[in-house]
Amino acid sequence: MTEPTLHEVKVPRIRQWEPWFFVGPSLLLLLAVGLYPTVFVAYFSFHNWTMGMGPPVFNGFDNYIETLTSSDFISSILRTFLFLIVTLPIELCLGLSIALALDQTRNAWLRRLVQILLVVPIATTPSVVGMLVQLMFNTQLGVVNYGLHVLGIAPIDWLGNAHAALGMVMMTQIWEWTPFVALVLSASLATVPQDIEEAITLETESFWARFRYIKLPFLRPGLVASIVFQTIFTIKTFDMIYSVEKGGPGDATQMIALHIERIAFRGFDVGLASAESVLTLIVTIVLAQTVVSFLYKDEV
């Protein structure tokens, strides 16, 4: 038996152009503001050029060699990853707890309140957060050390001590982004069908069993999305940390984006900053491409 086949309908030429009429302007704009600068960065990365110091001179892979052997660049990368591997698990655990708490039926108005409040840290201007951190974590007169004093803990030199400063920006990052994880996981929990939930509630009292066998499978896409996007957001992090101490004290909180900014706009070494940009870009694109395809596999 032969399968019935549909004859391909010949689409007139004019119809083929129609989608480009709609999509084209945005593509041209993004090519201009996104891709074109990226190409330029790649070009500069093979040149020795300091802003305001004569024309760029081709120097092959010198910038890349300098970058990869510079302890400053490597330590910024490592610091960014340390920042990520400390904050991300805490954000996931705390975010999941909040999402599960919001999924309960008790304390309805409090749940609604928290749901709305979760948006606040995400929406708040990061540079304002940075200034607020400086005020609240002031060593002698800040409210955080006052709180520690009430608990009988000696004051911590948050802004002056390198380890304390890194801890401080980590806590701030967790404050800013745990709500995002909570909201994403909350949305995933909302996809658990009502009847399945009711059925399992009749079946078992055990919270763990209900979580492990019913909720977790529905949470998986949300967890993946949280990890992926939080990784991206962390690599992009600039505003909050910059407005706390511009990466200081010393280079204690200098993440990769701050490092590149410093080389480019305070050291004016465009060539070197471009090489670092290209390397960072490659890491992010590889990361993005590997995850995007399966993250959106239901789409398109």
């Binding site: 009429f21 709609f22 999509v23 302007p25 945005s26 704009l29 993004l30 503001v33 996104g34 074109y36 600068p37 990226t38 330029f40 500069f44 707890s97 919001l102 309960q104 304390n107 409090l110 928290v114 409040l117 948006v119 995400i122 929406a123 708040t124 201007t125 990061p126 540079s127 940075g130 200034m131 607020l132 005020l135 002031n138 409210v143 006052y146 404050w175 995002f180 909201l183 994403v184 949305a187 996809t191 999305a225 996007f229 600039f238 505003d239 910059y242 407005s243 984006a257 900014e261 480019a264 940009s277 960072t280 870009l281 992010t284 993005a288 995007v292 395809s293 993250l295 959106y296 789409e299």
Partner: protein
């Protein structure tokens, strides 16, 4: 019964604690903006005080914060308007047509969303400096498209798909052009979705510090988040004024964020989370 009450109490305490952690820095910001310079650093903290609005007046007079807010508003509205003008048709094209490369194009928007800002900043700065366009809001409006367009496109594709195709076919039979259908039939039906996309993209545009303090650093051109950085230069930080400015800067975005709180997760993950 008692076990139920205990669970309820624990649940309430946990959520109450979370609410407190979120709110406290905000309380501190608003309270500090209404305290005198002495009261701000008084320990133990003064919880009850007579609100004093001198910091707001000082921020307006000394720091020209209103000008910065106006600059932010111009840049934000401009960036969102441009992003929707090109992004909404793009979303419509992707929603209504399947063509060679359409899915690759849709993912390419995501790649832009993941772009590290500092990477595009360097050549953009050099270009703007060459064209003598530093301190020109148009530069910011253009560079913000790297994140405005992806948000608008991804949020609107689903919106357009949800509009029944029968409506468009009826209009087509009436002789309306494809673009006319998009503009007069489909677009008006998705105004709520466009509003959400506009607010979300607007929050990011308003909050940006990195692009703004490099590309529009001038006193008359700087945007509101840049003003925050200007306080760091001085010997003594005038905390009352800083916090008064902070309240004025965050007010609009917090209100905007709360207005679209149901869509934040979906928006930030570009639709990966339903």
């Amino acid at each position: 019964m008692t076990k139920h009450k205990l669970l309820s109490l624990g649940h309430g305490l946990f959520l109450g604690f979370i609410a407190l952690i979120i709110i406290f820095p905000f309380y501190w910001m608003i309270a500090s903006s209404l305290k005198t310079e002495n009261q701000i650093f008084q320990l133990p903290p003064v919880w009850l005080f007579k609100p004093h609005f001198a910091s707001y007046a000082a921020a307006i007079v000394n720091d020209n914060i209103l000008r910065a807010l106006l600059n932010s508003l111009i840049v934000t509205v401009g960036a969102v308007a441009l992003g929707i003008a090109v992004g909404a048709p793009a979303a419509y094209g992707l929603a209504r047509y399947t063509f060679r490369g359409s899915s690759q194009i849709q993912f390419w928007y995501v790649t832009n969303w993941m772009l590290i800002p500092v990477v595009v900043l360097i050549p953009f700065y050099l270009l703007a400096a060459n064209l003598r366009m530093i301190d020109n809001p148009i530069v910011l409006i253009l560079i913000y498209q790297t994140f405005v367009v992806p948000v608008v496109v991804w949020l609107l594709v689903d919106q357009f798909r949800a509009v029944p195709i029968a409506l468009e076919e009826a209009a087509l039979l009436d002789g309306m052009s494809k673009f006319g259908i998009f503009l007069r039939i489909t677009l008006p039906l998705t105004v709520p979705g466009i509003t959400v996309a506009a607010i979300l993209a607007g929050i990011f545009a308003w909050n940006d510090l990195l692009y703004a303090f490099i590309l529009t650093p001038g006193t008359d051109a700087r945007t509101a988040p840049t003003v925050m950085m200007s306080y760091l230069g001085g010997y003594i930080i005038p905390w009352g004024r800083v916090m008064a400015s902070a309240v004025m800067i965050t007010g609009p975005v917090v209100v905007g964020g709360i207005a679209i709180n149901k869509y934040i997760a979906r928006g930030l993950t570009l639709g990966a989370v339903k």
